[in-house]
């Protein structure tokens, strides 16, 4: 569990980016469409160079997994490429990237949990009868388990998880919001996560 250096030199997966036109460049005349694509590509590459290190650092800090970090980063910027015109005009593109990357990471972890879980409960069977897929059933199970565990926490613990994890506030901002010292927020967050883990382990969600 020793932190390892951040991965370097990611290969850019550009399969979604249009390939260059033809091999005989001496006779090729660029069209307006080509120039538009080139302009888009140039904008995208500048955008990615600017923000990629931040996303890599964030996801690696959160996962501790180089391979997963690479996958999440690739997917995040693939989505960014597909929305680059909008993102370039966006007021907070880094915020969009961070949220996207976090959501992809959450989905990846939940998918892993689903793969490990054997779903054979009355609720799951009931949902299956209604035509819901196993993935939908898993999502419902996730929600139920997490919601149940959250409800079992004390009000202080629920609040600190809401502020620091769900809303993503810094401990400083969370302390201002909750009206308690930063040290108290850090301590509460630690014990809240421990309590949540214990509950999830007790109901079999985590092993």
């Amino acid at each position: 569990m020793v932190p390892t250096p951040l991965p370097q030199g990611y290969h850019h997966e550009m399969s979604d980016i249009p390939e260059s036109k033809g091999s005989d460049l001496s006779t090729y005349t660029a069209t307006d469409g080509d120039r538009s694509v080139e302009h888009k590509l140039a904008n995208y590459l500048s955008f990615e160079n600017l923000y990629r290190p931040e996303i890599v650092r964030l996801i690696y800090r959160r996962s501790g997994d180089r391979t997963l970090t690479e996958e999440i980063t690739q997917e995040t910027f693939l989505k960014a490429w597909r929305s680059i015109e909008v993102l370039l005009e966006h007021q907070a593109p880094l915020g969009w990237l961070i949220t996207t990357a976090k959501n992809l990471l959450t989905d990846s972890y939940r998918r892993r949990m689903s793969e490990k879980r054997f779903v054979d409960t009355g609720y799951a069977q009931s949902a299956a009868k209604e035509g819901q897929s196993s993935n939908e059933v898993d999502e419902l199970m996730d929600k139920l388990d997490l919601a149940t565990a959250m409800r079992s926490l004390t009000a202080d613990h629920r609040e600190v998880i809401q502020l620091c994890v769900i809303e993503g506030l810094s401990t400083k901002t969370a302390s201002e919001r909750a009206g308690v010292p930063i040290g108290t927020i850090k301590s509460r967050l630690y014990y809240a996560l421990r309590a949540l883990r214990e509950t999830l382990m007790a109901n079999g969600y985590l092993s």
Partner: protein
């Protein structure tokens, strides 16, 4: 490595995972991780927990105060087993609303049209979470736009597994591409939880969504993309 059941560094673990630890403390903390089994185990567990809990956006919440919605862009999200979110975003499109943790279900229409400008409709229903019992409660509202009456609407809240179901019955809708439902949570945050596309000419419909029980709601509302506000007022 140290084998302990408690470590003073433990409170640093979550801030470290959340990238909230001052850079000056990061290297010190990482050096500590090399020699403390307790913190290393807690780190692995907390990473999993924090990722599983997700963000507000991963349950479909989008802060109105950030102005992101006016740019026609929402954070990309992922739904198991679908490639719907692989479509590109255009300036008049939003990402599909399927989420890692929550699936939003429009009841009335499938056909997305253009998004238009700016309207926000607020719907004050008081403290919903924890107050609705097994029996659905229905509250009726009038819709106002800049103090001019537009049309009636109702919302029904009911407890369902994992959260609170909000079922809107709306009429006299403005001619817009999409409408969205938002909730106001603790701390006064107003966040969009889902968007529903409207068909051309559609002026009414039933719309349903489920708000996770982890979200404590103080009010809910309906809005369209943009800035001009419409308000719901209780009859």
């Amino acid at each position: 490595m140290k084998e302990t059941s408690h470590c003073d560094f433990s409170v640093q673990i979550a801030p470290y995972v959340q990238d909230d630890l001052p850079e000056s403390e990061v290297s010190h903390f990482e050096a500590h991780l090399n020699e403390c089994n307790h913190c290393s185990r807690e780190l692995a567990d907390f990473r999993l927990l924090i990722a599983l809990i997700g963000t507000e956006d991963s349950v479909g919440l989008d802060d109105l105060t950030t102005g992101q919605e006016t740019m026609g862009l929402e954070a990309a999200t992922v739904t198991h087993g679908t490639s719907a979110d692989d479509e590109a975003l255009g300036p008049n499109q939003t990402m599909p609303t399927g989420q890692a943790s929550t699936r939003w279900r429009p009841l009335s229409t499938k056909s997305p049209i253009l998004r238009v400008a700016a309207v926000i409709i607020l719907l004050a229903v008081g403290y919903l979470a924890g107050t609705t019992g097994a029996t659905p409660t229905s509250v009726h509202y009038k819709l106002f736009q800049d103090a001019s009456y537009v049309g009636p609407g109702t919302v029904t809240t009911s407890k369902v597994p994992g959260g609170t179901e909000l079922s809107f019955n709306l009429s006299d809708l403005p001619q817009v591409g999409q409408i969205g439902a938002w909730v106001k949570t603790t701390g006064g945050r107003q966040s969009v939880i889902c968007w529903w596309p409207l068909t051309h000419g559609q002026s009414s419909g039933n719309f349903m969504t489920v708000v996770p029980s982890t979200t404590v709601m103080f009010s809910v509302g309906i809005q369209t993309k943009g800035g001009t506000r419409l308000y719901w007022h209780q009859l």
